[in-house]
Amino acid sequence: MARIGVFICHCGENISATVDCAKVAEAAAKFPGVVHSIDYKYMCSDPGQTLVGNAIKEHNLTGVVVSACSPRMHEPTFRRACAEAGLNPYQCEMANLREHCSWVHERNEKTDDKAIDLVRMLVEKVKRNNALQPIKVPVTKTALVIGGGVAGIQAALDIANAGHKVIMVEREPSIGGHMSQLSETFPTLDCSQCILTPRMVEVAQNPNIKLYTYAEIESVEGFVGNFIVKIRKKAKSIDESKCNGCGLCTTKCPNKKNPNEFELGMAKRPAIYVPFPQAVPNIPVIDKTQCTYYKTGKCKICEKVCQANAIQFDQQDEIIEVPVGAIAICTGFDIKKTDFFPEYGYGKHKDIIDGLQFERLASASGPTAGEIRRPSDGQVPKKIVFVACAGSRDPAKGIEYCSKICCMYTAKHAILYKHKVHDGTAYIFYMDIRAAGKNYDEFTRRAIEEDDAKYIRGRVSKIYERDGKLIVVGADTLMGAQTVEIEADMVVLATAGVANQGAEKLAQILHVSYDQHKFFSEAHPKLKPVETNTAGIYLAGACQSPKDIPESVAAASGVAGKISCLFSNSELTREPLIAVVDRLAPPQYSSCTGCFMCQSVCPYNAIEREEIKDRNGNLVKQLAFINPGLCQGCGTCVAVCKSKSIDIEGYTNSQMYSEVDALLNF
């Protein structure tokens, strides 16, 4: 006979504020099979868990229902507590009285009834739970890092230094990400290249890291510890083993008029190019859409000049299949371009640029070798207007969040501009200066006090060009919302940070959830910021939401820590909530008819055809067999099986039936 213990949690007063916990406990005591039912202020606290342990020993309970927060929060906590008290952890279930009840309803009798229903549902279910043992699964001790920005680099180095193999996949010809485009970095103004390039070289030289650049993720199969990843290594048309990076081909290539993505359109580059001087690997790439040979079949000058004859025009894309144990997504972010703003001219004014373009102007390896010059006529701008919150905090434009880093880099731009153009004036239209990091506010004060950046509190309503000047029409809400008109030589929009262009596709390949802005969703905003809901897949950096460099690096090290801990034991325990085919005595062997509809629906092809042979070897029957190592417990096969021969632990037919029954027929 079932001996069930019910524990109702007040969760401080998160639950007891709207649910009468004592009444629920009292009602639960009357459920058939419940022998112990109490309510307590903090079930998940240490005394709370000891309460559960003692009750299990005292009443030798066969099942426990903790009615508190969402099972997605503390199911592991209470299952561990039950295990310590000698009850199989999978005999413990949670009723969600907080997120699904107390937090979303009013304090009234209906809410109490709902709480009682939810507890009754889980009590009926737990009566039918089986004692299960976790499944042991081998772990491939190789990590996949997607994205070669500062986050990817940090994660890869930490994992490699922990002694594990790392495979880094970077979409661009070189690693470095957006940080390699920056001139200096806040709050210390140290040169971005100087602190990044050594780490990039370290990645190239680290024996544990296998680097694939100009490559993308084609598909990911499997699950934590046992992923199979297919990487599409796009053809660079260069034999990487032969090329010594002399760069002769890039200088000799006649086709020089292609927009340079690294310089954000402010400079041109040849069809065969290395994105920037400190590129790692320092191997050029031929852009097939631009190279004259690929378009007309003529030219081949690069092939002629290359002493190492490394040019390989017939090189094809390569699909590399590799087993990995864990995946770190560090794909970074992008920023809105200036054409996103109708009121600032739809991007047609050349002297209205975005933050990254200003970084290129200020960068020594940039198109203007570090001098701040206007893209239109190359003049040194004497008056620049910086517009913060361009697109961010703007639900009308579909971006309601704050992009976090613009206040800081706008202050930095004002300082850099003052250092390079002493008689220049910087105006900054801002909403609220958000400089909450260490030494951050001091940095913005420096821009205001030492480099006399003129901060104007208000938004810019319109910018238009007139006689080579940019007329910026804004407001100063600290002066009674007076209209302010500035004739500027150049305007820098601190545009909104958005998800990278391929983020959604990658999320669907990896089956990780993402939000409406295509940023990846973390498992829990506070407690699991670097994990996703999919075990074995982690998030670092701005791909999760706009972040500055310190946060991205910290998150990357966090991911490295998580992955190292995953790889620390040779075997991985996995939830035993998997599907099982029922077996019967011969001659039927199983109720399975061998129609294998289950096999065709299984996304993990975890279902095989088991052959039952009689003594002299001829085939008697074919049955479905589920490989416990591969089954992820989605349960689609259970619902598709006509003869109900398959059942899934944790969500068996009788459990689900009893839950619905408990909810309604009382």
């Binding site: 639900p395 309503s461 809400t477 919302a481 007076q482």
Partner: protein, 190 residues
């Protein structure tokens, strides 16, 4: 969505605006973009964003300033503010509501008397003839506003260019128009 905590009637002016016009002034975080783009903000005593700030406080003395302000009369409802507002605070219908409230409570700013007179003359002409009789409008407006000499020079050249219609055009079903006026604007006036 049964938003339980704010179903109690908020009888501040901004509460009434939310009730009658469906515009929630709490969304405005005072970015000033509407004031920057407003063509007549320099004429206004309180630019649009400042006007909203005064309504956000919910204090009676601020509400008084708003109802007696010039701003609500100078607003041309050219829709520039709503087309650029990041929080989509729909100011033009709010201005319409504030104007009719200001009229209802007889708090219209004296500086706007000409504008109000022009509108009244405009609507009177429609009420009589069903269409706008421009000559009648000018005469009626001058009688109310007593600035007889303004645009006098224009009249002859307007006439010469055939732009001045002497006789008003009367629509057939004027009763229907009178009905409409009785059930809307005149109903409130009494």
């Amino acid at each position: 969505m049964s938003d339980s905590h704010n179903h109690l009637i908020d009888n501040s002016l901004s509460g009434k605006i939310k009730q009658n016009v469906g515009v929630s002034l709490a969304r405005c975080y005072q970015c000033g973009k509407c004031s920057a783009g407003c063509p007549v903000s320099s004429d206004m005593d309180f630019p649009p964003s400042l006007l909203i700030r005064k309504l956000q406080t919910g204090l009676p003395e601020h509400e008084e300033e708003v109802l007696r302000s010039k701003s609500i009369w100078y607003c041309l409802t050219c829709e520039m503010c709503i087309s650029r507002c990041p929080m989509e605070v729909d100011i033009p219908p709010m201005m319409d509501y504030l104007r009719s409230e200001s009229l209802r409570l007889h708090k219209a700013n004296p500086a706007a008397k000409n504008i109000i007179k022009f509108h009244k003359a405009f609507l009177d002409s429609i009420e009589q003839t069903g269409r706008l009789y421009e000559m009648g409008l000018i005469v009626d407006y001058k009688a109310r506003a007593l600035n007889l000499i303004q645009d006098v020079a224009l009249a002859p050249s307007m006439f010469a260019k055939g732009k001045l219609k002497i006789m008003p055009e009367l629509i057939k079903n004027r009763k229907n128009i009178k009905q409409i006026f009785k059930k809307t604007i005149n109903k409130k006036q009494k």
